[in-house]
């Protein structure tokens, strides 16, 4: 569904991502793992059109979307739930969700709003409240809910566990599993290696802007290099 080939991207001519290739197939959860500063966010920004890659290609559902505007990429059904949530703090929870269907699935807005509220009942309780007054966990739910409003075919989840308590991380990963269970493809970009590998079927490990390990999550879990680097074992 998503094919990234030899992607080189960065800021101001300096490449951060140095030739990354990866695939996400329909209905699958793929984890992209790595510590801070290895290029995870640059990868997401290049795939979702926020920055123009220097070279390489991004193919979504067989059609190249490399260098397309975020508007076109959203319209195609590739939704990026960004790191740091990027919700609209000055607007109500309901308005935030409504804007999720600004470009796509506008006709199904009412039904999708109900669906988002059923997945995240807490958002329904707070629907009239300014999004900026929500807790971190609720803001993350809102960011995911806003992404779902566009009826995505593939969702990039950029560090959904960032800044959440362990209990909330658990809850958030449960919710992501539930959403993916409905057949949605998910690219889960995370620092949280252990829990991501529990959730994902396959994973890629980034280091210094390149993929250093990849494979089925079960195998990676037992890989001594991964255990040494990320789990201190």
């Amino acid at each position: 569904m998503l094919e990234v080939r030899d992607l080189v991207a960065g800021y101001g001519g300096v490449p951060i991502l140095r030739g990354v290739s990866l695939d996400v197939k329909a209905g699958e959860i793929v984890a992209v793992l790595g510590a801070n500063g290895v290029g995870k966010t640059t990868l997401n920004r290049a795939v979702s059109g926020l920055i123009r890659p220097h070279s390489g290609s991004v193919i979504f559902e067989g059609a190249p979307v490399t260098g397309h505007s975020p508007t076109r990429i959203v319209a195609a059904g590739l939704i990026h739930v960004p790191e740091g949530r990027k919700i609209f703090p000055n607007m109500s929870v309901r308005e935030n969700l409504e804007l999720g269907s600004y470009r796509r699935a506008r006709a199904n807005r009412a039904a999708n709003l109900e669906r988002a509220f059923s997945i995240f009942p807490r958002l329904k309780e707070r629907s009239g409240q300014f999004a900026g007054t929500l807790s971190g966990g609720e803001q993350q739910m809102l960011a995911i809910g806003r992404g779902l409003m566009a009826e995505p075919k593939l969702v990039i989840m950029d560090e959904p566990s960032l800044g959440l308590s362990p209990l909330l991380v658990e809850e958030m990963f449960g919710l992501i599993a539930r959403i993916a269970g409905e057949g949605l493809a998910v690219m889960l970009v995370e620092q949280n290696v252990v829990q991501s590998l529990e959730l994902a079927s396959r994973a890629y490990v980034l280091e210094n802007g390149a993929v250093v390990m990849s494979g089925p999550a079960d195998e990676l879990k037992r890989d001594p290099r991964l255990m040494k680097t990320y789990l201190g074992m």
Binding site: N90, E98, L99, R103
Partner: protein
Amino acid sequence: MLKLDIFLSALANGLMTGAVYALVALGLTLVYGVLHIINFAHGATLTAAMFAVFVMHSVFKVDPYLAIFILTPLFFGLGYAVQRFVIGPASHGDDSNILLVTLGLSIIIENALLAGFRSDTRSIDVPYGFSVVEVGNLFLSTPKLVAFAASFLVALLLWLLLARTDTGKAIRAVAREKTGAALSGIDVDHIYAVTFGLGAACLAIAACLLMPTFLVNPRIGNAFVLVAFTIVVLGGMGSILGALVGGLIIGVVESLSGLYFGESLGQIGIFLIFILVLLFRPTGLFGAKA
């Protein structure tokens, strides 16, 4: 009794003038709230709009109130195009560049008007220019009353647009969270241009409402924009309600201080308020906390 009548008529006049000030300030505050820049071409755009009304009336014999329906879409389109194809590309995403580009535009517009119309002051002659409505003991100028009502209507429509429509919500979203908006499929450049267009459209309406009782020369816009800046600071940068309330307050202050200190000192009150607001409430009456 006479004293009270004079006071009341100054008050009414102030409110009516203030409503048009508010309209000019609305455009300024909207652009500031979304693009986070002061549009230095605002005054020149108002001047251009007033000349457009003048030309429509003297050449094409179109009544200024009728011209609202022609000039509003025209100026919206112009504002949209200028932001989308001139200011946006020329600024390369850097706010200080936008500032300079708008300053440059204002110089170009002003001098083009100067070249085209010379520095003469002109006005238009409409049959209702001096007509009045009698309210109790007060005689209120009909065109000013129309301007007052129309300004409120425009503010209300603008508020409805921002609160209820998808485009309005997208404008508010872009104002605070550009990246989040882009990732929701909102075309940020388009929204910037729409906002700029709305700002210019407000000026076109203000120009149509002003011309029946006012005059125009190539520098007239600056006088209004100086007042509009004060209103925006008083009301709170980016606040629609603030622009409306601020406009009315400033209109009344100007009118009353004109009454008590003499016409030539009328504007002193405005700048006193400006300084006091900056000293004691820099976020303005309805401004968000920094």
